[in-house]
Every structure is written in C-alpha cells, then in structure tokens.
Symmetry: C2
Subunit: 406 residues, 2 copies
C-alpha cells in the first residue's frame, strides 16, 4: 500500500480484438494515479523486459478511445517460454535489472495461459531476490480456456465475429439450390468455446447443421452418418469444426494429413482440419465442397467487436491497476458473472499460480448426446458476451486504428 | 411507354453484399408504379422462371431497409447456362410460358457477366416470339470485371472488406517480431480489381508489401526476389495475391497443385493459390508462413458494407425500373462517374449485347513496372467506392438480416 514507483505493462501470446482495450484500461488508471510515475510499455512481452526494450506511454484521451478497438498487440507480443529460474538465472537477472533500473514497482502482464505462468515465475523470482514489486496478471485469450474467471477478455469479440460471419455464410450458401457442403474451421486448440459460438446462429437462422468440438472424440464414419441425415432435407449443409477436433485415440484430426510443427510451448500449429475434412467429403460424396478457415480474421476483427467484451476488457485493465495500487500482487484479475435474472459482471481475482497452465473446457453436458451440437446451456452462457456493437473510427473508408510506428 | 403488366426480378451468379440492395431498389420503384401490378421474384435466377417457381414480393418499408444490407441472394441464385435458342427451344418456351401466364411485361435480371448473356438471350427470344417484354439487366459482381460501367454494384463493399481486413491482419501480424510470411488470397478469376483494393491499406499502414494480380504473369522465382527485398528491412512480410494469378504460359498458378474442377460456364474453381504459394515459401525459407483465403467472407460480409456501394446499388435498381417504365429494353444499367474535383456518380445504360461475356481488367499502366503493386491511379479509382459505413440492425448480438424461409 502506498508504494511509489513506475509501472510496466506487457502483452503476450496470441492476439485478440480486445487485448488493447485492457491495455487502455491499465494505462488510463496507471497514468491517473498519484503513486505511479511513468507508465512503460515493454515491447514484445517479456522479451521487451529481458532486453530493456521499453517505450514510455503517453496517450491522449482520444488515443485511449481508439486503442480500445485496435486489434493486434499495440506493444507487440511474444511466444517466449521463460526458462527454469535455476538454469536460466541470467534471463531472470536481466528482468530484475530492467525493473530496478527503471524503478518499476508495478508489473501488469496481459496474456493467456502461458503468460500467467510467465507472470507467476517472474513475480516469485523477484520476491525471492528482494525487489519488491506488485505483479498483476490480466487474462486475455479468444480461446476462453482459462479456469476460475467466468470468461476471458477477447472471447466475446471473437465469438461475435464467428456468430456474425456464420450467419452471413449461411445466407450466401443457401442462395444456391445445389448439393453443397461447407466446412468452417474455427480456432481453439483443445477447448471448443469459440466453435460453440456458432450455435448462437441457430437461434435466428436454420444453420449451422453440425458443430464438432475438441471435447468430444471426432469419428469420421459417424460424421458421414450425421451429414447424411442433414442432407436428407436440405441440399446445402454447413458444418462447423474446431481446428482441434481429435480422434478417440487423442490424435488431432489435422495431424492425419501429416506432421504438424510446434511453437515454443510445444503447442502444435493446427489449421487445415477443414480442408482435410473437405477432401474426404469431396471424395466420398462428390458434391460441391468448400472449406473456410477463419484463421487470423476471428481474432483481429476490430471492426466487429462485442461492446460487452471491449467494455469489460477495459474495466478489467483498470481494476488490475487498482488492485496493485491497493497492495495486491501475484494475482490474476477475473470476471465473476451472474446471468439470471440479467447478465451482470463484477471483477474479482485469484492467485496467479491457480491459473497457470490449466485449460478449461466445455462441460460434456453442454454438448448434445450425439456430440455434434452445443446445448441451450452453452448458448445461454455465451450469448451475453457478444452483445452490443462499437464501430471503430474510419478514415478514407478504412479503420483508423492506433498503432506504434517502429 | 405505358405498358401495363406485372414485373419479375431474379438474381444470378456469385453473391455480393449489395445484390439485395439492388433488389430492394427494383422492388421499391416497381411496387410504387401505377403501371406495374404485381412484383414477382423468381427463385434461383432463370431456373425459377423456367420452372415457374415464383414468389410474389410484398415488403414493408422496414423490410426494404433491412434487405439493403442483407448478404446472399434473397431470391436465391443459380449458375445455369442457357442453351442455344435452337437446340434448347423447350427451355425458352418454358420461360415464355411463365412470363405469359403471369402477365409479366417487365423483366429485371440482377447478375454478372454470364447473367447479362442470359438476359440478352431471353430478351431476344421473347421479342422474336411476339411476347412484348421490357428487359433490363442490372449489373452485380464483386469482381468489377464488366465493361462500360465505371464499376459494378457489390465491388465497393467487397473492396472495403478487403481493405479493412488486410489492415487488421497487418496489426495482428506485426505484433510478433519474428520471421513470418503471410499470404492472403483474394477472389477475382481473371481481373485483379478486388486484390488491388488491398493497396488502399498502404495509404494508412506499412502494409501490404507485395500485391500480385492476374493481369501480370506470375513468376515464382521473381516472387522470391521481391520477397527477399521486403524481408531485408522487416521480419514479417504480407503478400496479397489474386486467386487467379497465372504463369506466363497462361496457366493458373493454383493449377500447378493439380487439376481444377469447373462450373457450368467452364470457369475453373480456383482457390488454393495462397496455400500452394505458402508451401513453396515454407520449403524455401523455412520461416513461419500463414495462408489466409478470404473465401466467401469477402462477398457476404453484410456487417461491413460500403455505404457508397449500398446506396448506389439501391439507386441502380430503382433506375432500372424507371428506364423500363419509360419503354427502354435490352439494356444494362451502368454507372458513369467523375472523380474530380469530387466523386460523382450518375446512372446511364448500354445495350445488353455490348456487355455480355466481355471481361474488363486492370490497365497495365495501373500496376507498377515490377508488376507487384497497383499504382496511385488504381487507388484513386477504387478509393471513393469504399467510403461510408452502414451497420445492419442486430438482434441478440447477431445481424437481423431479412431472408425468405423455404
């Protein structure tokens, strides 16, 4: 309580359309605090701290507003895996030096699962080495796979993108009265939250027909049985799959096409599940087939964000700074939500160590018995998170996002 | 002049986000005319007329508004190729019967290149067989490859989607300070108009780096030379290609991966150029590579339309009906534009036969000498067409588009 010094904020892991809203929240509260002097941004996550590659942030109120819907990481991101504190002591000492040299007493790390692990390790090491610092983790991931928090900042906007785009694909595809199978592939390595957002489309349109999630083993033969049932009464079927659908042997379906590369955390680079499935459909049914991979678009569509998500992501950034200012450390901020009688979110927190490297998946009972569609309970959970629109300012017809020139 | 009877309207070919704006315009003027009784919609283009599969249209003012930004073909589309009038006499007689039986004196066909050919053939046959009908073609194609008209309805919205999305991809990709090549694939079989829209991004952001169009032969070795130059000063390169890039021998690049299927008009089904090019890059450079195909998304994004495009598409529908009401027939409505001192569009028309099956491409002088980027002249041509935003009404967070239940 009452610690005076500078603050540092960094962004890490895969991008979301709301990650800069959290940064904007951190900045606004930190810059407005009498206890915090300068607000530094570390460029490219923890790498910026290791390499003392910082910028001092000075944003106008208008820039803070524009930052809220700017996709990508304003400060840049990384996928750097921190070594073990013993074998990698030199790395931790570099971090310690950067923070000491810049008189940093507040450390805010915006990231996903792996990032909470990084924040946790740094926080522990610094405490053990006598540099008093208040470290707060701010969640972020379109995958919504963090435990404890009701949902993650960034998920609602990606889910809105998916629900909107799947509605539009339906209207395009249904224009043609021909045998036609469309397969849409959505991100989410081991958790199907994002893919499940496509089920919201069905509350308004007669689509999609089938949704396959990583939580239920994917069986190609059963898929063809399911698809045949759909095609009995409509010529054009739309199938939505997670990039991470797996066989019952636990192998990624995408892997059946060949070996996959991995990132620094050992996560396999997926993508290609839809085109592999499309080639099976083409071969077996011979009809028109189209594979559509949402790829980066679902996580960077600043023009199609959920207002709920942006406002909450901004609020959690502000709350994270307030918590640190009140002396809290080693925590990750969380959302605590009620959905009845109306949706209501309050911000809480948990220990960083409670969240590191734990993945939360969709409960099996939120997926139908056949394993090919989420249930109403799942929709009820996701629906409030995609509500509301915020449109970015445009200039010459293109969004006028705020970004840091190199 | 002064012909009384019913009207029919149909939609054909690939969809656009503005095709229903033209339908809304046709409907509004036709429904409001004292000379026109009922307004019929033919389901699935000319097939609906052949099979007498019609709906009578009765829309409220609110529905007309919602229809304007609804993607897909409200009435459905087709890719049916009309036979020769001699060998396919029975088909033409069915068309004649449908139009006679329903007392149709006004025929509006919203479509692309192939559709103008269809409208032209029908119009000629009917005239020769004594059923007086006023036939007006209304252009539509995201490809912008029709001659005579300054641009085509639907192009501006797709171009806006591309410029917006390419901006967002840039912000996502630049977050990572690693060697990284992103290849974006855009529709446009033989004309690069849509792909060229990505150049507008560069007026605001330092991206994309290279743009390859079907108008210039694509050489893989030269591509690697171009790419190496880009990568000298930035780690993450973004390359935008048309699905229809071709070798100097006139073969589609996509074809190098294997045989392509064709549609009823003999057009090859492209797509896959980016993933083929990505595999070359991966093999040769070994860095992180991502292929992104915009696929249907670029033509059905009703949530991201150009207000200019929607308003013009609506206006051309209205003007087409007015022209028919004044006795004109056998024509396609066109846009005639001035860009200096300010952009100004007026609606004109040309003979249907002048436009059928002619493709308009980007002039070579609107592409730089190296053949890897459009010039400022090309930007100046496209820029006015992506201006302005119209946001669809949403319901529960998802666009509340107007569509015809089957």
């Amino acid at each position: 309580m009452g610690v005076k010094g500078n603050a540092i904020v960094a962004q890490s892991g895969g991008m979301t359309a709301a990650i800069n809203a959290t940064l904007a929240g951190v900045y606004e509260t930190a810059a407005g605090s009498a206890d915090i002097g300068k607000v530094f941004g570390a460029l490219h996550g923890i790498e910026g701290i290791i390499n003392n590659n910082l910028v001092e942030m000075n944003l106008t109120a208008d820039e803070v507003e524009r930052l809220k819907t700017t996709p990508g990481g304003y400060l840049g991101s990384c996928r750097y895996k921190l070594p073990d504190p013993v074998s990698g002591k030199d790395v931790y000492d570099k971090i310690l030096n950067t923070l000491k040299d810049n008189d940093i007493r507040y450390f805010f790390y915006i990231g996903g699962n792996d990032s909470m692990d990084t924040a946790n390790k740094v926080s522990t090491y610094l405490r053990e080495h006598g540099h008093e610092i208040l470290a707060v983790g701010l969640p972020k991931t379109i995958d919504n796979d963090l435990p404890i928090t009701d949902h993650t900042p960034g998920f609602g906007s990606a889910a809105k993108y998916i629900a909107t785009t799947c509605s539009e694909i339906y209207l395009d595809v249904k224009s043609f009265d021909i045998p036609y199978v469309t397969i849409v592939e959505i991100m989410g390595r081991n958790a199907g939250w994002l893919t499940a957002a496509a089920a919201l489309v069905r509350e308004r349109y007669d689509s999609p027909d089938l949704i396959y999630l990583p939580e239920v083993p994917f069986d190609l033969e059963q898929f063809f049985v399911d698809l045949a049932k759909v095609r009995e009464h409509k010529p054009a079927a739309i199938v939505v799959i997670s990039e991470g659908i797996m066989t019952k042997e636990g192998q990624y379906f995408a892997e059946l096409a060949g070996d996959l590369t991995s990132d620094n955390f050992g996560h396999k680079n997926l993508g290609g599940s839809a085109s592999l499935l499309a080639s099976h459909v083409k071969e077996r049914l011979g009809c028109k087939v189209r594979a559509i991979e949402f790829s980066l678009l679902q996580r960077c569509a600043g023009h199609l964000v959920s207002a709920t998500d942006i406002n909450e992501s901004f609020a959690i950034g502000k709350a994270g700074v307030s918590a640190a200012l009140s002396g809290k450390s080693g925590i990750m901020m969380t959302y605590q939500c009620e959905r009845e009688p109306v949706y209501k979110m309050t911000i809480g927190h948990c220990a960083l160590s409670d969240v590191a490297n734990i993945e939360r998946k969709i409960p099996r009972e939120w997926i139908n018995k056949e394993g090919n569609f989420p249930t109403k309970e799942c929709n009820d959970y996701i629906r409030p998170l995609i509500q509301g629109e915020i449109h970015p300012v445009t200039k010459n017809g293109v969004p006028d996002y705020l970004y840091l020139e190199k």
